[in-house]
Symmetry: C2
Subunit: 332 residues, 2 copies
DNA sequence: TCGATTTAGTAAAACGGTTTAGTAAAAAGC
DNA sequence: GCTTTTTACTAAACCGTTTTACTAAATCGA
């Protein structure tokens, strides 16, 4: 039992494809198809449960109602949560998501970008690592609808939904200093990402404005390919250096550090303060507790979808840069 | 600058669409296209960076190289992690994922199922809530390639990748009893899902085999729409009932319960043992520590993709049911 | 040398929709 | 009663590929 096409419906009912198509697209009245005919077609279509082939539709219309979601890793709760919010917002507009995880590598990003474009997605939502602007510039030149979030690149001009990174991080670190921290280390994933650099800058500024010497040895980069173990090792280094606070540039490494702290440094757990960019529920009660900079996830999702909608509709070329205020959650 | 099509390429080079298509699909030799022509076409295609329109390809071939991933919620780490693994496995085979979160509601599941089918996905991977078998039976009757995981329904015959639920849960609860727990409550999300019922059955069996009376009041169901707060409230109930252990049927509520325990019942934290189905890193060090039944996520992803591949290729109708052994992680 | 085969390519149909341009019959206008 | 307009509908082109069925020229075999 093959799937029925419009052609089948038309033949079985004795009408032309055109008529059936008009009726199915609610153009019956506009196109002067008689009520009787419309009802007959609709009834039949319901009876045989006809389902239009979206691929054919997309080909003809040049529109797939599909948005690509390109991120470092969908299993990172931050991207998963935003992805879920976006999924729901887009569903209301008749769009749906296809996802691609880049692992922060340029090859995968290019591959996925190509894949998305070949599949004719109508727009892209991306947390790009911006390692190679080539492909992105090409797309931008073609006015391909794109909205960037979470990550930015100073040389790339586009639509951005971001949070304030530097001052937010600075505030968080200053908060720790205010509460007595003096020797403050930092752990970050690969910081060849501008947004992460800004967070690290915020950390530096907080220290220097409070006359704490910046010791580059206390700024540790963890290996992306082995996050958990590498975080453990780098944390060990900082603990050995007797820091009294550790700052993290995202929540994944913070979570791993909490784990390492509990398993390997239980005795020091009262002696070190944690400060994290991004929030996690567990920061409310973990040992150590974590003062965190919480990103406004719902707002990010809302703006992203809104702006993407604008870009896809407007003929004129807009480029918005929306910077949201994150919220400092102090936990002592 | 519109995107070039095969027709453009052909015209610009003075060949026919057919020839260009043959060359692009590596059928040049087979179809007797001269080496010179092949090279000329390939060089030109590279020069203008021609990208084939996958939608047109899909329409013609009746194959989209797309798999639908239907789950309760992509922001649930369990589904996100498996999703990520599946994404990578499929990418190697030239497939990619489109995702749909159902929130365990039948309406959304039907809507998404329809959407997937209309978009002509080549196959489906689903953690269905099986509330209404209608649509699934229709698809199964058409031999639509589907593989189910995590959830099952006794009346639905299909390809399943599951973990042993009942005995695994039974073992975990018995472990708690062995270590002294006597009054054991249970918290579950909506158990109109067979797999969850099995987990609850395991809990019941463990109790009765150890001559502990089953008190249905101690089996609490949390509200899906308000997971965090509802978990808190139901946990409160169990604490008031003075249970000495709580069993959870999935990791999300366990995480919320750990939060509630730390925030609202800190003083009782040593008096109650937690047992959870599904693992989380934080169980290693949380208070209370959590003895958990860890699902073999990689194996689930691998089998799911493997079986789906078989189903999509085989002409014959196979129906496999693979039940994996979860692992008990004791934490005291 | 002449029919058979191989080489190198092409025209046209097909996939399943949408859309443009049109037509024949009925109704309206005068 | 004849022209114009409206009603109700349709044929065919099109979106960008793949694929089938073909052809003309060159080469081969005996």
């Amino acid at each position: 039992m093959k799937k029925k096409s419009i052609k089948d419906i038309a033949q079985e009912l004795g009408y032309s494809k055109t008529t059936v198509s008009f009726v199915l697209n609610n153009k019956g009245d506009e196109k002067n198809i008689s009520k009787k005919t419309q009802e007959k077609i609709l009834a039949y279509v319901r009876e045989v449960n006809y389902q239009p082939n979206q691929i054919a539709k997309s080909l003809k219309k040049g529109k797939t109602n599909t948005i690509g979601y390109l991120i470092p890793d969908i299993s990172n709760p931050f991207y998963a949560k935003i992805g879920r919010l976006i999924e729901d917002l887009l569903a209301d507009k008749g769009y749906h998501l296809i996802i691609g995880s880049t692992d922060e590598t340029q090859e995968k990003e290019d591959l996925l970008l190509n894949m998305f474009v070949n599949r004719q997605v109508d727009g892209l939502i991306l947390a790009s690592s911006f390692e190679n602007l080539g492909m992105l510039n090409t797309l931008a030149a073609q006015r391909f609808p794109m909205v960037f979030f979470d990550r930015e690149h100073p040389d790339f001009f586009g639509n951005y939904i971001l949070v304030e990174n530097k001052n937010a991080m600075k505030g968080a670190v200053q908060n720790a200093i205010k509460h007595g921290s003096k020797k403050i280390g930092l752990l970050s994933i690969t910081p060849n990402v501008y947004s992460l650099e800004l967070r690290i800058d915020g950390y530096r500024e907080a220290l220097s404005e409070n006359e704490i010497d910046i010791d580059d040895h206390l700024i540790r980069i963890v290996d992306n390919n082995n996050l958990k173990e590498s975080t453990k090792a780098q944390l060990q280094y900082l603990i050995d250096e007797q820091v009294d606070a550790v700052v993290f540039t995202n929540n994944q490494i913070t979570a791993h550090a909490i784990w390492a702290m509990n398993i390997f440094h239980k005795e020091k757990i009262e002696d070190v303060r944690f400060v994290s960019f991004d929030n996690l529920d567990l920061f409310d009660y973990s040992q150590p507790k974590v003062t965190s900079v919480a990103q406004p996830i719902e707002k990010i999702a809302n703006y992203t979808v809104d702006i993407l909608g604008e870009v896809m509709n407007e003929k004129e070329h807009i480029s918005k840069r929306i910077v949201l205020e994150p919220k400092l959650i102090e936990r002592l």
